[in-house]
Subunit: 350 residues, 2 copies
């Protein structure tokens, strides 16, 4: 089995170039075309072997997919379409070349699904396998989704179910769990962990809805089109660190509070055969890595968005004055509960 | 002395935010404005403690400066102006917070000199200190400098002296060397290693010269301005891996050869008091990390550029048919020599 030390960093770079578009290879930097009137969006992640990924639970293909997906999700969370990613790799000489190729295979599978690619990189020796990804995207300045733009009265939309990725990880770590689960359910949950889907697909739907809402307002005040176009700002982020974290972060950044309705937080149907109601809620709120979008927008747009998306998309609550994020139970079975980030740490000892 | 493990990655991120423009903090990704009709240029480097930098020869400020400078130099080598960089950091818990702050201090000093900044990043735990930098720039599509654009007859311009950075490193590693050097000379050489200057300053001068040459041609053929604007392409790259490497890479990418004139390869004046003629040449050709630009362009433009730049800028040779890079001695003191990348490895056992 060929190892990195057998072919050297330069030899490895040459092998990895087949994962990149040929036109970007062989210069000091990659050149990308951007569309006119777009802002550039940039995000970066560093992943360390044994801390952020591990051969114990994750194949190299899945590690690559997950790394690419996390960065594309950050772009989606800003409202941006991807332009490409760069990949910086630190590798011990003992790593197998095939492991690295499988990692790149997984990354490119994810990127291809979203019509983007690896546009540059660096490979160096390191005592520990290290993966540094930077993703670039573009967005029209009026369509940027910011954490700080939530206003009182906004509906809080989740674009899908929560808790599946954490459940999948638990099943991978402890195969004896979930004996009641059907094979297809088990596969779907582990798949949610191994191959999370960044919600770039939500962006055109969201823009279509906001544009049609804009037009109604423009008709009311025709001479202010430009201003109005930016008058329906959407607040949001992705739920990579958990649904509770996302809502708390948005509220902090926007200087508002929120009330969430317990029954509206959708979890995978398979949870009913396996987890208690409390466990299912904890997975959904604090599990993380579901890579859904959490968006705050006016009620009418929110309803239209949920209807378009289906598949677990829901209005889970509303933005309120103050700074408290409250979990409410319409059925009064559970008392109101104030959500905080420390509860996530308590639940999963992160 | 506070260590990273005392305040955690989140605490450290908060401390490091003072090195970033406030408007980019607190979202999933940074948003940057690009100018219209510009292409995006992206480059990335990974640096590992003990391999690419070391506390033995390099203060954290200098390590930061050098890392930023290397990435800005890659942008300059493409003809691009910087938009910003992202910084991904992997850190053992034992690293002092002040070390990290000093690293960022060095990076931002370099970036500020070139009117740019850190626009995003990630901090994670790692067994080894790791620095992953991605730099973004923009360039008009007609002004991209590519390695592959050299044509037979082009003059080869270096934008400054070569060998200073390697000499500085030798003096830092072996303080007993260069006893004949004056203090100011020693300082200038070590400074060349510790604080290399990416040659972004060359770009506007180069464009001005090319524009004025363009205009002469436009006058000859007034109806083809657009085509003509892209008819004086400049080939080039930076000399970060050594002057010989740069010329060989350009020749490979362009499918041409070159003849270099030994006497035209300028080295620091201080070398005369210290190194033999052969040693000085080896430092210049294979030392690396001088971060000058090596540019191939028509004779007339090349002469104008060298005159404008001064300070060691020179025409060091010409592009020829074939694929050989030949080192020639006008004075016939040394026989002609074919340059190859392996000679660099032999010289410095890289």
């Amino acid at each position: 089995m060929t190892k990195v030390k057998d072919i050297g960093e330069q030899g490895l770079l040459e092998r990895l170039q087949r994962f990149c578009p040929p036109e970007i290879i062989g210069d000091d930097a990659a050149v990308l075309e951007t569309a006119p009137e777009q802002s550039l969006v940039v995000t970066t992640d560093v992943l360390i072997d044994g801390i952020h990924f591990s051969n114990l639970t994750t194949s190299p293909e899945d590690a690559g997919w997950r790394a690419a997906a996390a960065n594309l999700s950050d772009l989606a969370a800003m409202g941006a379409s991807p332009l490409g990613i760069t990949v910086g790799l630190g590798l011990p000489g003992e790593v197998k070349v095939s492991w690295v190729e499988r990692l790149y295979q997984g990354m490119t599978e994810c990127l291809q699904k979203y019509n983007t690619s690896i546009v540059g990189g660096d490979v160096v020796r390191s005592p520990v396998t290290t993966l540094a990804i930077t993703a670039f995207g573009q967005v029209h300045p009026n369509q940027i989704i910011r954490r700080s733009a939530a206003v009182v009265g906004d509906a809080i939309v989740v674009t899908g179910v929560h808790g599946a990725s954490h459940a999948g990880l638990e099943l991978l770590l402890h195969p004896q769990l979930g004996q009641n689960l059907k094979d297809a359910e088990r596969t779907a949950l582990t798949r949610a962990h191994q191959r999370p889907q960044p919600r770039l697909d939500v962006l055109p739907i969201l823009q279509k809805i906001l544009n049609s809402q804009s037009k109604i307002q423009v008709a009311l005040s025709a001479h202010q089109r430009c201003d109005l176009k930016s008058q329906i700002p959407v607040a949001g982020m992705d739920s990579s660190d958990g649904l509770a974290d996302a809502i708390i972060q948005i509220c902090r950044a926007s200087g508002v509070g929120a009330v969430l309705e317990r029954r509206q937080i959708s979890t995978p149907a398979a949870f009913e055969d396996w987890l208690t109601e409390e466990q299912a809620l904890a997975y959904a709120l604090y599990g993380g890595e579901d890579f859904e979008l959490v968006l705050c927008l006016p009620q009418e747009s929110a309803l239209a968005l949920v209807q378009h998306l289906g598949q677990g998309a829901a209005i889970v609550g509303y933005i309120t004055p103050g700074s408290t994020v409250l979990l409410h139970d319409e059925q009064k079975k559970f008392p109101d509960q104030v959500l905080s980030l420390s509860q996530g740490f308590q639940h999963f000892n992160q």
